[in-house]
């Protein structure tokens, strides 16, 4: 499968140049002239790495990132900027950006960052696939486990035996390919699965 890149820059010449570069490296590129345009056509699931200019008219890169962060899935973002502004780079990285590159950007740097983003996208897609293979019962138990509840308590709530919960629980871990409750919690976060007892 070809990795996808969403390229968001309001300067047409540079956008075309970056598009060519990414295409030459085998990426499928979807270009947008503004962040609003990109957000208006945002797919439900993050299926590509976003390469976005920081300073754009209308909605700027950081504001767009804020909206992407609240989206259901996590979008890997590589920022491009005309000048290395420390404050905005810190803000961007804190909000989970992959990298923050200064224009003119060297192909090597850009491609390394975009590949890291593409790897994240693939990983997330695989995780979603694994999660899709869980039965409704297994998902329910997963939400109990990440709420920090013991098998005994879960069994009582669901009117079954502790042994049954143990079996379901190990199947959840096996299907998601993880070993610890800590990893389960972080996977749940990435999947947007909320613990039992919290609003979902």
């Amino acid at each position: 499968m070809t990795d996808k890149v969403y390229l968001v820059d309001d300067e047409p010449d540079l956008r075309r140049a970056l598009e060519r570069l990414l295409q030459a490296e085998g990426f499928k590129v979807e270009s947008h002239a503004s962040a609003l345009d990109f957000l208006a056509r945002l797919p439900a699931e993050a299926d590509g790495c976003v390469v976005m200019d920081l300073a754009m008219s209308g909605l700027d890169g950081l504001e767009a990132q804020q909206r992407l962060v609240t989206a259901a899935t996590r979008w890997p973002i590589v920022f491009l900027t005309g000048h290395g502004d420390i404050r905005s780079s810190v803000q961007a990285m804190k909000a989970g950006a992959i990298d923050f590159l200064t224009k003119p950007v060297k192909a090597g740097e850009l491609l390394a960052a975009v590949r890291a983003g593409a790897a994240q996208v693939r990983e997330a897609a695989e995780l979603r696939q694994r999660f899709a293979s869980l039965t409704p019962r297994e998902r329910e138990i997963m939400r109990h486990v990440i709420a920090g509840r013991l098998n005994k308590m879960i069994a009582m709530d669901l009117g079954t035996t502790e042994q049954t919960i143990k079996v379901h629980r190990s199947r959840v871990m096996e299907k998601l390919g993880i070993r610890s409750v800590a990893a389960l919690v972080s996977v749940a976060q990435r999947l947007g699965v909320t613990p039992t007892g919290t609003a979902s």
């Binding site: 309001d10 300067e11 010449d13 540079l14 075309r16 140049a17 970056l18 060519r20 570069l21 295409q23 030459a24 490296e25 300073a55 754009m56 008219s57 209308g58 005309g82 000048h83 224009k103 003119p104 950007v105 060297k106 192909a107």
Partner: protein
């Protein structure tokens, strides 16, 4: 006072004005340094990514020649853009007496707006241009007049900072009224609280950084062109700066020669 002393005093005044205009130009350039860096950096970035894309295409077994040709054309265009910025920079840095020539007003205004497009975009200002004096000319110094317009546009941008990003509008308008050419620079910003006389006075400023010389110099440049500069608040909000110049009429002989 005898004639030679008066002449000397006049020369000194003229020299002072040239010096002052030059200083004001340097100040304008300092305010625009971010824009200038960006206007040069942007084509550089375009050239770099296009070149690196071309190198990758050339490494493929059967390079797409059409694509390579259009890459080359884009590289050249970017190069010319950077070159134009450097030329303009050089012209503004040049010290010396004004050079008068017939200038097409509409082309002058459109050229300045083009130069400021990147800056306006970054500051979230949406410009509109209404050219209503096709072919009309004035007799003037291009660089000085450009500086006046840049200064007014810069001020408009500052005044627009109070508005939300999607709402910042700037309108540049030209028209001919009889023997006069008129340019208006309108914004929908905060408008003016100070009186017109006050804001054209030297060292008047509402900005934390700035010499307060921009409008004083602009007025002196406009007056040196036998023109007038005035300002009023738009009843709908914002300020309108108006420049008026006598239209340039080619000499009788030049008209007959056509």
């Amino acid at each position: 006072m005898d004639i030679s002393a008066r002449k000397q005093a006049e020369d000194e005044r003229a020299l002072q004005r040239v010096e002052l205009e030059h200083l004001a130009r340097l100040n304008t350039l300092a305010e625009l340094s971010g824009t200038l860096a960006h206007e040069i950096n942007q084509p550089l970035a375009t050239i770099m990514s296009n070149t690196e894309a071309a190198q990758r295409l050339l490494a493929s077994p059967r390079p797409d020649l059409d694509e390579l040709r259009s890459i080359m054309a884009d590289i050249l265009a970017a190069d010319e853009r950077a070159d134009a910025v450097v030329k303009r920079l050089r012209a503004m840095l040049r010290r010396g007496p004004a050079m008068r020539e017939p200038l097409e007003l509409d082309a002058l205004v459109a050229g300045v707006l083009d130069f400021m497009a990147g800056e306006l975009r970054r500051r979230g200002v949406a410009p509109r241009i209404e050219l209503g004096a096709p072919g009309a000319r004035l007799w003037g110094d291009r660089v000085s007049l450009e500086q006046v317009l840049i200064n007014l546009i810069n001020n408009a941008c500052d005044a627009l900072a109070v508005r939300d990003a999607g709402m910042r509008r700037l309108v540049l308008r030209t028209r001919q009224e009889g023997a006069e050419l008129c340019v208006e620079v309108c914004d929908n910003g905060a408008g003016l609280k100070a009186g017109a006389e006050e804001i054209f006075a030297p060292f008047f400023t509402t900005k934390t950084e700035g010499l307060g010389m921009g409008l004083a110099i602009s007025r002196s440049i406009v007056q040196a062109h036998e023109g007038r500069i005035s300002v009023r608040n738009d009843p709908a909000g914002g300020a309108v700066f108006e420049l008026r110049f006598p239209a340039h009429r080619p000499a009788q002989g030049a008209v007959e020669a056509r």
